[in-house]
Structure formats: C-alpha cells, structure tokens
C-alpha cells in the first residue's frame, strides 16, 4: 500500500501546497503504521494468552529455534534501519548518489534476512515441525510469516524508490516518498525487534 501513498505525493492535480502535501503523506503513513501494529496486535494478544496458559510448553519448544540465526537476522535488520536513516538524511542534503547506495544496502539486508529465514523454515520442516505441531509453532510461523510478508512489501517499496531515485525524481526539495517509505521500513524492523525476544529468548 505504501506505493500508492507514495505515488499520491506526486499528484499535483489540485495544486495543493507542497508543505501540506508533505504533512499529509507523513500523517497518512503514521496512521497506516498504527493499523499495522493493530494487525500484529491480534497475534501479540494470542501470544500473551497462550504463553500464560502453556508456559512450560513455550519454554520447552522455543529451544528448537536457532538463536544464532535469529540474532544474525536481528543485527541485519537493525543495520538496515541505520542505512535507511542515513539515506533519508542524505537526500535531505541533496546527496542523490549516497541515497542510491543506502537504498541498495537496505534492500540487500532485507533479502539477506529473507534468505536466512528460508533456511530456518527449511530446517524446521526437515525436523517435521510445522504450524500444526503445537500452539507455540503455530504462533512462531504466523508471527514470523506475517512479518516476512511485510519485509517483502518493504523490499518492493524500496525498489520502487530506488528506481525513482535513479531517474532523478528526488532532491533536497522533494523527498517525501523516501521519508515515508523509510518510516515503513523502520516499522518492519521494530516488529522484528519484538518478535525476536518473544519467540527466541524465552526463559
């Protein structure tokens, strides 16, 4: 959905003041992020309920998860948030090439995260662990799976932004889509930062 929001900041059909457009786009994205948090909120609520009910099961089964891979992925995503933030600052100062580099690194981080996750899932399936194994793994696959879909959406948005930047659409004067797209990417990171300890680090 980010893409549509971003495109709209381009529409000058009604000659709305660019400052108003900027504040509308940011406000719109913040509202959208709020709905995303509520979407995950249902899963967090289910997590809280079932962890309280089956504390021992959660503790036993979380040992099946690969903490090292999870930790690597956490570092990758936090690093990608940094590169995204550097990219936003870069274009605000008009440094288009630096933004291109930063977007590329951020996208690569996102892909690396996905590859890691692919091996993690594959490993689980080899051990005959699937979403129907238990409530814990149902939650694990639902939460990380839904998050993964958001990572892919984020990669798609960043790729569109990268192409637009290569075409020279953004400058120090006009960079709303970069900022708004960056907000979305930070949310994707933020959700993972909650998922990692909740799923991998149960004690």
């Amino acid at each position: 959905m980010g893409e549509i929001v971003i495109e709209d900041t381009h529409s000058h059909a009604h000659h709305i003041d660019p400052k108003v457009e900027y504040s509308m786009s940011k406000f719109g994205m913040w509202l959208f992020l709020g709905t995303e948090i509520l979407l995950f909120g249902g899963l967090f609520a289910a997590y809280a309920i079932y962890r309280a009910k089956y504390a021992t099961m959660f503790h036993e089964q979380h040992k099946e998860l690969d903490v090292t891979l999870g930790a690597i992925n956490t570092v990758i995503l936090i690093f990608s948030s940094l590169t995204m933030a550097v990219g936003v600052t870069a274009i605000q100062k008009g440094k288009r090439n630096l933004l291109t580099l930063m977007l590329l690194i951020t996208i690569i981080c996102g892909i690396a995260f996905g590859v890691n996750k692919y091996f993690e899932y594959g490993h689980k399936f080899e051990h005959h662990i699937s979403p129907s194994t238990s409530i814990f793994f149902a939650l694990y696959f639902m939460m990380t799976g839904l998050h993964m879909i958001h990572v892919f959406a984020g990669i798609a948005i960043l790729t569109v932004l990268l192409v637009l930047n290569l075409k020279g659409k953004f400058s120090a004067k006009y960079n709303t889509p970069i900022e708004v797209g960056g907000l979305y990417w930070h949310l994707v990171d933020l959700i993972w930062i909650y998922l990692f300890p909740l799923l991998y680090l149960i004690s």
Partner: protein, 537 residues
C-alpha cells in the same frame, strides 16, 4: 480552483464526462462517492430480495419454498451482503466521499488515487465474496468456529473477500482522517465542522482501529483451515472463545461504523427542515467520539452465554449500559432541535424523524439485551433480530434514505417527485414496523433465530411479519422507481433548494469538478438558522 487565467471560469459539472471508464478511472471524490452509492444500493436491493425469500419461507410452519440448508445459504447471503457490501462501506464511503471535501471546503480528499484504489479493492472484494456466496456458503456472517473450520463450503474465499474489503475500509478511513485534519478551508475550525464530518471522523477512527483486528482473525481462520494451526481448536489446546473475542472486538465497533454516519446525516437534515440551529452542537460532536471510544469496551456482550466468566460478563454488562449515555444525548438533542422549530415535512425530514423514533426503540431494546440476566433469556432469539433491525434499518437505512432524498438535487442536479417520495416513505415506515415489531414478541416467547422452521404456536406472528416484509418491499420498490425517474426525468434542481447555510449547498448543483472556484473562507457555523446573519428569517 484559482488557476484559471480567464476572468469568468467555465462551469463544468463533475457529471459531464460520459463513458464507464471515465468513472472507473476517475479520482474525483464525487464520482467515487457516486460509484459507491450505486454499488451499495444495488447490493442492498439484492440482499433485500434474499430477505423477502427468507420471510416467505417463514410464512407458515414446515417447508414452504426452501429447505433448511437452502435457508442457511439464504441467511448467510443476506447477512454477509448486507453487512460487508452495503452497510459497512455504506454511508461513510458514499456520502462521506461525496460530501466531506464539499463540507470542509477542499478540492478533493487528501489522497485521490488511494481513494480510487479503495474503491477498486471494494469491487475486487465483492467479486470474491459473490463467488464464495453463490458456491454457496452456509456459515452465517459471523464465521464462528468450530463450524467455519468444518464447513464444506469455501470459507477461505469468503474470508479472503472480507479481508480485502477490510483493507478498502481501512484506506478510506485513513484518507478521511488525513483530509479532515489537513484540508479544512481557512476559517473552518473543528467547531465549525458539519456534524456529518464529525460523524465521518468518528467512523474513520473506528475503521482504522478495529478493522486490522478482524483482518488478523480471518487470517488465523484461513490458516486454521489450511494448516490446522489449532488456535481455535480445543483438541489442540486452542480456544474457540478466542475467535469470538477477536471477532467481536472488531464487529462490535463495526456496528457503530454502520450507524454513526447515519447520525451525521440526520444531524444535517433536522436543522434545515426545522429552520433552527442544531441543539447542543459540541455535545453532539463529542458524543460521537464518546460512542466510538466506548464501542471498544463492550464486545463481550455478544458472548454472555458463550462461556465467559461471570465477573467478565458483569463488567461488560455495565460497560454496555454506558453506550446509552452518548446515544441518549443525541436523541435528546435532535428532539430539542425540533422544539419550536418551523418544521417542514420534506421526505428527507420524514426519514430523519423516523430514525429518531425507530432508533430510540432499537437503542432501548439494546439496553435490555445488555442487561446480563435479561440477555440469558433473550439471547439468540428473534428479540435480537428485531433489536438489530430496528438499529440497522430503523437507524442506518432510514438515515441512508433520508440522505439520498436530501442530497439527490446536489448529487445529480435533478429534483425528485416529492409526493411519490412521501408515499414510498409511508409504505417503508409501516412495512418496517409490521415486519419487525412482531419479532420482539416472538423473541420474548422464545422463538430462536436462524431456524428455517418453527412450532405452530408462532404461526400468526410470523405470518404478520412476512406480510410486513411485502409492504416494506413495495415501499422500497416505489422509492427506487422514483429515484430512477428523478435521474432521467427530474426537474432541474436549483443550487440550494432548501436554503441551507451549509457549505456543500453553496456550490452549483451538480458541483464542478474542482468543487470551489476559489477555496472559500469560512466565517460561521453550518447551522446558523434563525440568527440575523442567516439567509432568511
């Protein structure tokens, strides 16, 4: 807008471009509003016909026209189409799109392309849902587990359709919130907004906060069917009550998504035809927000007999009573608006007055049902069916009809035949009450809802209800013909046929593409009737 170099800008009504593509690709909020209006009206009529068939089956005990399974299919169709195709997008998407920018003095909504995208998502969802419903589906519109997990019908397609519909609803809400915050004309302060705009704002907040939760719930239901994740399956350690909690956490606020815009509509109609400012404007605005807030705290009153703890049930029962306070403020203020007004019984006004009367019955019976002890007796009986229809038809649909008759001249630049409109209203009002009032009695006598059959002692009341449904059907038929004739043969409408002081009436009928030649500067409140600054008195 002000970009014309010529001194007298050419007036081109927004309806001028012809051709289906000029509509489907238009980002004009007015055209999108009209597309929603046509879509929801069509689905309203189709789902209404399925209701007539259900009533026909119930005219006598035993099988009349359909068997029990076909009856389940019919009520699933009726419920799902009415709820998700008509009443949830409903007045918010149709009137909201058309009116919000006009009322706040903006050229369009904040994100016009996103707005069109929402409509496409709505269309996509209706296609998915129609396929699923005609396959057919038999889970009812609530998709309660465990039946929705076991049902042999295509629940996955059905829930996917609703997921997409939810996305559309979220994006529309988001668009309206940003529009109302950022695009108000100079001088249009929060306390000068039309109450319909306040109502749209409260609705949009609900759409944004509640819809994602039903989204994840339906996603979990799909996963349950595909992978057997066991969240709602006790044999795997899950809990079917959790589904109900999740479902009603959305679906109770959704009830207010359905009704609040109608409150907004009649708050526009009453002052115009009473020639008086709305009574207690601020109380009216903030009571809408209060309803929205409280709506998140009452969901478990749908589950009093589902196996929740008595403590929880008691707390939810008392919280439910709180809803009565802001809604009573509204009914009180509407009535006070009428007090000593110069009342003119325009057809729109008749529908608005019907809403005040019928919603009061619907609302008060809601208090009965919110009372724990009473609900144990009335739960899942026709009393609930009657209560719900008094709120949804007596409230929302009356507001919808009222709004249609009220803004028709602005939307299409044509006048309606008032006499026919009033005849139609009389049929609708009488037919509605004959259909649904007996159902209150049936419910207290113990007639359970959702059954295709009943014991003979309920025969006469059921028969009466079915006859009422025909009167209601005739009324809606006359109204539909009148509206269509108005479109083709109606007299040309003046810009402001009711001498309203509200901003949307100050532009030509139908409005030009960019709404305002120049963004207006607002200096007063939209209900200044009877004061020295108003256009008359």
């Amino acid at each position: 807008m002000a970009n014309h170099t010529i001194a007298a800008p050419l007036y081109v009504p927004y309806l001028d471009k012809k051709g289906i593509l000029s509509w489907l690709l238009s980002t004009d909020h007015k055209r999108i509003g009209i597309m929603y209006l046509i879509s929801i009206s069509t689905f309203f009529l189709i789902a209404g016909i399925s209701a007539l068939l259900m009533r026909l089956e119930l005219i006598a005990p035993g099988k009349t026209i359909v068997d029990a399974h076909q009856y389940n299919v019919l009520f699933t169709f009726h419920g799902t189409v009415m709820v998700f195709f008509f009443i949830v997008p409903g007045l918010a998407a149709s009137f909201g799109n058309f009116l919000i920018p006009l009322m706040i003095g903006a050229p369009d909504v904040a994100f016009p392309k996103l707005n069109l995208g929402s409509y496409w998502l709505y269309l996509l969802a209706t296609i998915l849902l129609l396929i699923a419903l005609l396959k057919p589906a038999d889970t009812g519109w609530t998709f309660y587990t465990p039946y929705s997990i076991k049902s042999g019908t295509d629940v996955i397609l059905l829930t996917t359709g609703i997921f997409v519909m939810g996305f559309s609803s979220i994006l529309t809400g988001l668009n309206f919130i940003v529009t109302i915050h950022k695009l108000r004309a100079p001088g249009m302060t929060w306390h000068r907004l039309n109450l319909f705009v306040w109502a749209s704002y409260a609705t949009a907040i609900l759409q944004l906060l509640a819809t994602p939760v039903v989204g994840i719930t339906l996603l979990l239901l799909i996963m349950e069917r595909v992978f057997g994740i066991g969240f709602f399956d006790p044999s795997k350690g899950g809990d079917p009550i959790l589904f109900q909690n999740f479902f009603w956490f959305y679906s109770h606020p959704a009830v207010y998504i359905m009704i609040i815009p109608a409150f907004g509509v009649i708050s526009e109609i009453l002052p115009v035809f009473a020639r008086k400012p709305i009574f207690g404007y601020k109380a009216m605005a903030y009571s809408l927000l209060a309803i929205a807030l409280i709506s998140f705290l009452v969901w478990a009153h749908h589950m009093f007999v589902s196996g929740i703890s008595e403590v929880a049930a008691t707390i939810f029962s008392f919280l439910t009573f709180l809803v009565a306070i802001p809604t009573a403020i509204k009914v009180f203020n509407w009535t006070a608006t009428l007090y000593k007004g110069s009342i003119q019984l325009h057809s729109a006004m008749l529908y608005a007055l019907s809403l005040v009367f019928l919603f009061t019955i619907g609302g008060l019976t809601g208090v009965f049902l919110g009372a724990l002890a009473v609900d144990v007796h009335l739960h899942d009986t026709y009393f609930v069916v009657a209560h719900m229809h008094y709120v949804m038809i007596g409230g929302t649909v009356m507001g919808f009809f009222g709004g249609l008759h009220f803004w028709f001249p602005k939307m299409f630049g044509k006048m309606l035949n008032e006499k026919v409109a009033k005849v139609a209203w009389a049929f609708v009002f009488i037919g509605f009450n004959v259909t649904f009032f007996p159902q209150f009695i049936l419910g207290t006598l113990g007639m359970p809802r959702r059954y295709a059959d009943y014991p003979p002692q309920f025969h006469s009341l059921h028969e009466l209800s079915t006859i009422g449904s025909w009167i209601l059907g005739i009324g809606i038929f006359i109204m539909t013909v009148n509206l269509l004739r108005g479109l083709t043969n109606g007299e040309k409408a003046p810009d402001n046929p009711y001498n309203s002081v509200s901003l949307e009436w100050q532009v030509p009928s139908p409005p030009p593409h960019e709404n305002f030649e120049k963004i207006p500067v607002v200096t007063d409140f939209p209900y200044v009737y009877g004061k020295k600054n108003s256009q008359e008195d």
